[in-house]
Structures are given as C-alpha cells and as structure tokens.
C-alpha cells in the first residue's frame, strides 16, 4: 500500500465500522504495539491492526489469553512504548487482574472495551453491563479513567485522547464502547492530531533507561506489594491525591437542554443517542425534557450532574444493564430528593421511542 509516514494526513471523511475506527485512531495516536486475544465483538480491531501495523512499523502480538494481553500491555508501557489492547465481556473480566496492577503502579495502559452481554459468556452482541467492572473492577479503588463513547467520531477522538490522558496522568485508561458501536457503520472524520493542534504526549520508559543502573542513574525498583498497613495507606492516599487533583482536568460531560428541563434523562454511551432523540421528540410535543450525558464515567462529573438534576422535577435513568450505571448516578445524587424512574434493559438496545413512551406514561 502506498502510505506516507503518517497513517492519516490532514483530514478525511470516511465510512467505517467502530472496531476499525479504533485501529486507525491508535495508528494516528502513534501507538507502538497492540497485544490482543480474539473475542467477539472486537476482533476487527485486531484484524485491521495486523493488516495496517506492518506498513507503519508498528507491532502486534496475539497472546495466549486476556490475562496475558493485559500484562504484556503493561510490559510494553514499562518499556516506554505506547501499548494498547482491546477486549470484551469475559475477556474484560480477565483483564481486571492486570488492570489492578496498572492502577497500583500508575501504568498508562489503554484498553478498548466493546461491551457484550453478561455475565459470563452471555451474548456476543451488546450491552452496557461492563460499567461496574471497567470503572471499579479488580481489587482496587477505581483509580482509572473511563471514556464512554456514543459513536464513531467519539471512538476516534477518545481513543486518541486516551493515550494522552493515560501518559499524562498515569492511570489505566479505557475506551468503553459496545458491540453496536463496534459493528455499526457510519461516517466520521479521521484526522492527524497534529493538524488539530493536539500534541501527542510522548511515552517514557519505566525501565531500561540509558546508563548503568546504580552508577550512572538510580536503579528502578518497581513493586506493587507493601509490608505494613501504614505503608499501604500512604501509598494509596498518594494515588488518591493525584487522582483527585487530575479529575477536574479529565472530567467530561454534555448537557442537552437541561436548563429548563422538567424530566432529566440520564444515560451514557450509545444510549445517549436514544436519549437525545427522545428529548427532540418530547420538546416538539411540548414536554420539557433534557438529557445529561456523562462522557467520563471515571472520574465522574458529579457536580455537573447534580446541577442539572437539581433543576429538574424528576429523573429517568436509562441503561442496557440491570442498574450498573444507576448505582453510580444514585451515589452522585446522594441527598438530592428527586424521584428517580428507570429503564433497565440488560443486554438489550433501547430506542428513543421507548424513552418517549415512558416519559409520556408518567404524566
């Protein structure tokens, strides 16, 4: 293929599936290596990376499983290279072990999740049932960054952004998509980040720096184990401080006509599209609905959610899960006395019509 050094030059409007978008975005973000394992519905991320990466001097390894994919990604990062992986469902479950190491040791991994039905093997299709796991999985405190995308432009923008967020703040970072986004086809604009003024953060090695260890430079001794409770407490509180400090710079959200909304629809990811559509329809019918969409699920735009919710008379939480997102929302709305209605559809897509019908019912 006749490709220049830059995989994407300038800007181009293209027609693609979500998985492909992630592979291209990783190329544009100067990712060096992908470690991965087959699992539906994210296989095309690998299929495209394996075809494109050799033409751009990038690397790939198919590991023996997702535990290995997570730990090899950590290894790649420690060697100072932008490394990433992609997984889904049961694979995401296996990823929790390496991701808890990344949390403890502040390792900037980037992992793309295409949520599928759960728990266990369930379906290969779609869900929003990996919210709990991706935000607070493993045996950690959730010191992670999670972007919930709602379409292909998001997948492109936030895959690129994930590398920057990860390497700047050093928390494991996730692009939380789903099986619908992975497979659906729509246009988006691919661009060279430099042309949009986006400076790509340079990776740096954790180990293998030049010079003789102990003589020319301090030796790196990296660990994730502590001897006493006090030692652990200090270590965790330091991570917590860094996390809280970084949070305001990372948090993203979107308000759709929330200023004068009576009913506030709270939804994330692809369901946000249905919520948006519902607001449009309801407003045409004279009903004052609004939609709050958190873009980062971790850290969460708590203040902005409360602001939007306090203006409304009632709240409707909509998700393709049995309450994983609802749990987060309730936590952040603690103390705010507003009735909360829910549409909970584990593993099933939700349409704008359903949301409209529910809101009209309630009147």
């Amino acid at each position: 293929m006749f490709m220049s050094d830059k995989p994407i030059k300038g800007e181009k409007r293209v027609f693609m599936t979500g998985n492909e978008v992630c592979a291209w975005a990783a190329l544009a973000a100067d990712a060096d290596i992908m470690y991965g394992y087959p699992i539906t519905p994210q296989n095309e991320v690998m299929h495209y990376w394996t075809r494109l990466s050799p033409k751009h001097g990038r690397k790939f390894l198919q590991t023996e499983d997702e535990i290995s994919a997570g730990f090899t990604t950590i290894g790649g990062v420690m060697a100072g290279r932008k490394s990433f992986s992609a997984t889904a469902g049961p694979g995401n479950t296996l990823f929790q072990e390496p991701m808890s190491m990344a949390e403890m040791m502040r390792i900037p991994t980037v992992v793309i999740i295409m949520q599928r039905g759960g728990p266990s093997t369930a379906t290969v299709i779609y869900s929003q049932q990996e919210v709990t796991m991706t935000t607070f999985g493993g045996n950690g405190e959730g010191f992670r960054v999670v972007y919930s995308t709602s379409g292909h432009q998001d997948l492109y923008d936030y895959t690129i952004k994930s590398f920057n967020t990860a390497w700047k703040y050093k928390f494991p970072t996730f692009v939380l998509g789903d099986g619908y986004q992975a497979k659906m086809r729509e246009p988006l604009t691919m661009y060279d980040p430099a042309e949009r003024g986006i400076e790509m953060v340079k990776p740096f090695p954790y180990v293998g720096k030049p010079g003789m260890p102990g003589t020319d430079r301090p030796t790196e001794y990296l660990r994730n184990t502590y001897n006493t409770e006090a030692e652990l407490y200090d270590a965790i509180m330091e991570i917590a401080r860094d996390y809280e400090k970084a949070a305001p710079e990372i948090i993203e959200w979107e308000n759709v006509q929330t200023d004068d909304a009576d009913t506030l629809i709270v939804a994330h990811g692809i369901v946000s599209r249905a919520a948006r559509g519902a607001v449009e329809t309801l407003r045409k019918d004279g009903i004052k609905a609004g939609h709050f969409r958190p873009i980062t699920l971790r850290p969460f735009a708590e203040e902005e959610l409360r602001k939007a919710a306090s203006k409304a008379k009632n709240i409707l939480v909509v998700e393709s899960s049995y309450g994983q997102f609802l749990k987060l929302v309730k936590e952040y709305l603690y103390g705010l006395d507003k009735p909360i209605d829910t549409i909970l559809r584990p593993g099933v897509g939700i349409t704008a019509e359903e949301i409209v019908a529910r809101i009209k019912e309630g009147r």
């Binding site: 409007r13 492909e20 539906t40 093997t121 497979k183 246009p187």
Partner: protein
C-alpha cells in the same frame, strides 16, 4: 441466460446491499432468484435478519434464520449445507461473500464454482473506506482477492452522500479498473440522488439504483 453473480470486497464495502438489490431487480423481471449468505468471518451485519422479509418478496434465501441459531451461543462462522450447493439451484444465483484474508477462496467450498460458465465475481468498492481510498490502494487490494471479473463503484458516505462524491468515486474506481483490465459494472446510486444524474456517471459507467435494506439487518 442464467445469471450467477458473487459480490466480494472489503469489510463494510456494500456487498450485502448490492447483492440484495441485484436479487430483487432480477426477481422483478419475473426471474427465479436465489440469494446466498456466505459471510463466515463476521456473521453480524448479514442477510440473516432479513431472511423472512426477503422470502416474502419471493426470493429463495440460503442463510441461517437468527431463530435457528438460538442456543448456539456465539454467532459462529457456520456454513449451512445448502450454501455449498448453491450453484445447483435452478434460476439465477446471487452470492454475498463475506470479507476475510482469504478473499475469493471461499469459492473452493462452493461445488461447481470452478467450472460454472455463468459465474461472475464482482468486487464492490467504496472509496471513503481508507484501505480502498485511492487508485493504487484499490488495485493492490483487488489483486489480493483472487479471481475478479468486474468492479462496482459503491462510493458513499451514508446519509452524507452527494452526487459529487459518487462521481469522485467513479473517477477513482474507473482508473483503477482500467489498470486492472477490468470493466466497471456499474455505479450504485441511492434512490434519492438518482434524479441528479443522467443515464451514466461522468465516466460513462451505467448507473444502478440502490434501495437500502441493510439498516434493518442490524441483528
């Protein structure tokens, strides 16, 4: 004369949509038509969910019905026996070939493909997909497919498609086809845009109207 056409090409290039349209076009001419789903790598966005509605129109559809695949767990890259014997059905045969590293090698599995006198294999190309975005890339890609008898210009950008874009695609695809020594079979145009064109695109390729069926095929 019997018509046997296979639509092959890159992932999400428009093979299924063109296959369905061609099948219905022939059906409307009063012909007997069978459409075959040969998507083995990614049986998601395929003919399966449309099977019943296409059969109601009068097509014979060789594909798994999603209900038949209940209880199988993963969607699977399963082939049905009838798919291998597709060329034995009477009437016209239209084949929707899935993407994959093996290109046109799927024909090794279809009994009689090697010797079928009527078989035509068409590569569907959409230049808004980066792997087939310019002449050189299209030539390189088509060469990896194996046997190809013609190219279809299916350039579009979903709802954002314009006449200019289709013409741009026609120009690039025609240049690539020339280099490959292949004909451009037609340029596909959605119904809404058809009136903006004359009988051919600016390169002189015939036009074919495309009706959209695949959006209903998303599971």
């Amino acid at each position: 004369m019997r018509i046997v056409e296979a639509f092959i090409g890159e992932y999400a290039s428009g093979k299924s949509e063109n296959a369905i349209n061609r099948s219905l076009e022939l059906l409307q001419q009063g012909r007997e038509v069978t459409i075959v789903d040969l998507d083995t790598v990614e049986p998601f966005y395929t003919l399966r969910p449309l099977k019943k509605s296409l059969e109601q129109k009068g097509l014979r559809v060789i594909a798994w019905d999603p209900e038949e695949t209940h209880g199988l767990g993963e969607a699977g890259s399963l082939l049905k026996q009838e798919m291998l014997w597709a060329l034995r059905y009477s009437g016209d045969i239209i084949m929707d070939i899935g993407y994959g590293v093996h290109g046109a090698k799927i024909f090794n599995l279809i009994v009689g493909a090697e010797t079928d006198p009527d078989l035509k294999i068409y590569a569907v190309v959409n230049i808004t997909r980066p792997i087939t975005g310019n002449k050189e890339d299209i030539v390189e890609y088509v060469q990896t497919l194996g046997r190809v008898d013609g190219i279809i210009n299916n350039t579009h950008l979903g709802d954002e498609t314009t006449k200019d874009l289709i013409e741009e695609g026609a120009e690039v695809v025609t240049a690539a086809a020339k280099e490959l020594g292949l004909p451009v079979v037609y340029t596909a145009v959605v119904e809404d845009l058809r009136t903006q064109f004359d009988d051919c695109d600016a390169q002189g390729n015939p036009l074919k109207i495309l009706h959209r069926f695949m959006p209903d095929a998303f599971w």
